[in-house]
């Protein structure tokens, strides 16, 4: 999935080749956008429900200039960051403890396995009931839900560290702390990063849903859900475009970079 975009943008040898690659990528969007425009302009559907792309773009610009959209984005990102940070710290800690200690593993694994198959959004009403409407519930739910993949992957990663690396480090006189910092943590890091990545994707999906349910005053989920009341399809589509861009940016910029600086550089993954 990671090479989904790069596969279409083949290595550009010269300028002409690069332009052709861009044109090839743009072509499907032009076709779909053109079809949308034709249907919208034909007036088959009420324009409030099926706005033209110009309308969506105008709404997008209007919402951005007036500062409404940036405010929604900011609040969503803050919730995402806080929730994901909580999940990351708790999840990695629990995963490492489970991987290192048999006792913790035996105690925690049944609990984690029971909680994991329940879709995160199903917990939303329960969290709303317990912690009230608003940001606290949203953040806690995001943290709770995205912790599961992080715990599982960290645990697997720590278990997957080769026994021989541990033993050779011990034979060379590494104490527990150095063993942990220099062998186990780097050894498990590819898995931990995968877990964080899955966790972030999970967090993003849940956050948009829970913002619709939790009646938060600001947030992209609320922006698109609230627009329903006013039949403002243009606002919804503008919001969805922003959600798509943010989702793509989180994946491409944050994690691809983090991976390049750690495991790829250490030659653990290519």
């Amino acid at each position: 999935m990671a090479d989904a975009l790069s596969a279409s943008a083949a290595p550009a040898t010269d300028i002409g080749e690069r332009w052709r690659a861009i044109a090839r990528t743009a072509c499907p969007f032009v076709v779909v956008g053109g079809a949308w425009e034709i249907v919208a302009h034909l007036g088959l559907f009420p324009p409030r429900l099926f706005p033209t792309l110009e309308d969506v773009a105008a709404t997008f610009v209007h919402l951005t200039v007036t500062g409404i959209l940036p405010h929604h984005v900011l609040d969503t990102l803050i919730r995402l960051t806080v929730g994901f940070a909580l999940a990351g710290v708790a999840g990695v800690a629990l995963g490492i403890a489970m991987g290192r200690s048999r006792l913790v593993e035996d105690l925690a694994l049944p609990l984690v396995s029971i909680g994991a198959p329940i879709p995160g959004i199903a917990y939303a009403p329960l969290f709303l009931l317990w912690f009230g409407l608003g940001s606290v519930s949203a953040v806690l739910l995001v943290a709770f839900v995205s912790a599961f993949p992080i715990v599982f992957n960290t645990w697997t990663g720590v278990k997957a560290v080769k026994e021989i690396w541990v033993r050779s480090a011990q034979a060379m006189g590494a104490d527990q702390r150095r063993l942990f910092a220099k062998v186990i943590l780097p050894g498990a890091l590819p898995y931990i990063l995968t877990g964080l990545r899955l966790g972030l994707a999970q967090a993003w999906r849940i956050l948009v849903g829970v913002e619709m349910l939790a009646a938060v005053p600001w947030g992209l989920g609320w922006l698109i859900f609230g627009a329903r009341e006013f039949l403002a399809t243009d606002v919804m589509l503008a919001g969805i475009v922003v959600i798509a861009i943010l989702g793509l940016a989180l994946e491409k910029l944050v994690f691809a970079r983090l991976e390049r600086f750690t495991v790829v550089r250490w030659g653990m993954m290519t």
Binding site: I118, P119, R228
Partner: protein, 261 residues
């Protein structure tokens, strides 16, 4: 059974009992209102009662119906399209950018738009499930077809296999581990999406709707009972349906090794 294995099971059971007891103690202490934190016997009684009077099975039936219809649509579109994308550059060049652009949009973000377009009800839930399940299906099939070892294709070709035989005897079996992974991921996504869609696009029946509706009446026992049902169904599908599908196909063909190695 080795002593080590027995110890694991005992510890696992102990931790479940301990957590349940802790919950029960907090619930009974009266520190929180009983409606918000019902005791476990109350939850169990609610679960049994709603199963006995047929409402819970009915909710589960509606939810499953939506998942299966939406999932079947996703397979019907994702599988052929994924195969075509893997086989033909032109198809890949057209659909891959679209899929990459649509994939990062959480399926629930479409709920408000679909509600406006199709009204509250079944259609929205089914379409959301379709959207959620489509991309895992599509992209896994696509990678599966691309990952077929070209040597196998050439060997079969040299032995005189025509296009049809090549397709059914080499390509499909060779990409089946990816396709099954795709089905699995698609079901997980669909299961999340259906619960969310049912909450947002209220429709009287469905497990997601029950949970959300119970919030209005502070029925935490109903919520917890429905959560248990949702978890049980999801778990059953994952383990039983896909586990046995995997055993009957790719494990039997020796394409992937069992995880217990």
């Amino acid at each position: 059974m080795t002593t080590e294995r027995r110890q694991r099971i005992v510890r696992g059971a102990l931790s479940l009992v301990a957590v349940a007891a802790l919950y029960e103690a907090v619930a009974r202490s009266g520190a929180f209102p009983a409606v918000l934190l019902p005791t476990l016997p109350v939850v169990a009684r609610t679960l049994v009662a709603s199963c006995a009077d047929g409402t819970m099975p009915m909710h589960a039936f509606y939810t499953l119906e939506r998942v299966l219809i939406g999932g079947a649509l996703a397979v019907a579109v994702g599988l052929p399209l994924g195969i075509l994308m893997g086989r033909y550059r032109a198809v890949e060049g057209f659909f891959l950018p679209l899929a990459s652009a649509l994939m990062p949009i959480p399926s629930l973000a479409w709920v408000p738009v679909f509600i406006l377009w199709f009204g509250l009800g079944n259609t929205v839930a089914i379409l959301i499930v379709f959207y959620a399940a489509l991309f895992p299906m599509l992209l896994n099939t696509w990678s599966g077809v691309r990952s077929v070892n070209p040597l196998w294709l050439r060997a079969a070709g040299a032995m005189g296999a025509d296009e049809t035989a090549l397709f059914w005897k080499v390509m499909i079996p060779a990409s089946s581990p990816f396709i099954i992974t795709g089905l699995r991921q698609a079901f997980l996504r669909a299961w999340i999406a259906v619960v969310g869609a049912e909450m947002l696009a209220a429709s009287d029946w469905g497990l997601g709707w029950v949970i959300f509706d119970a919030k209005e009446f502070l029925n935490a026992d109903v919520m917890l009972a429905s959560l248990a049902v949702i978890g049980a169904i999801g778990f059953a599908f994952e383990r039983l349906a896909f586990g046995s599908l995997e055993r009957a196909t790719v494990l039997r063909w020796g394409m992937v090794r069992s995880a217990k190695g």
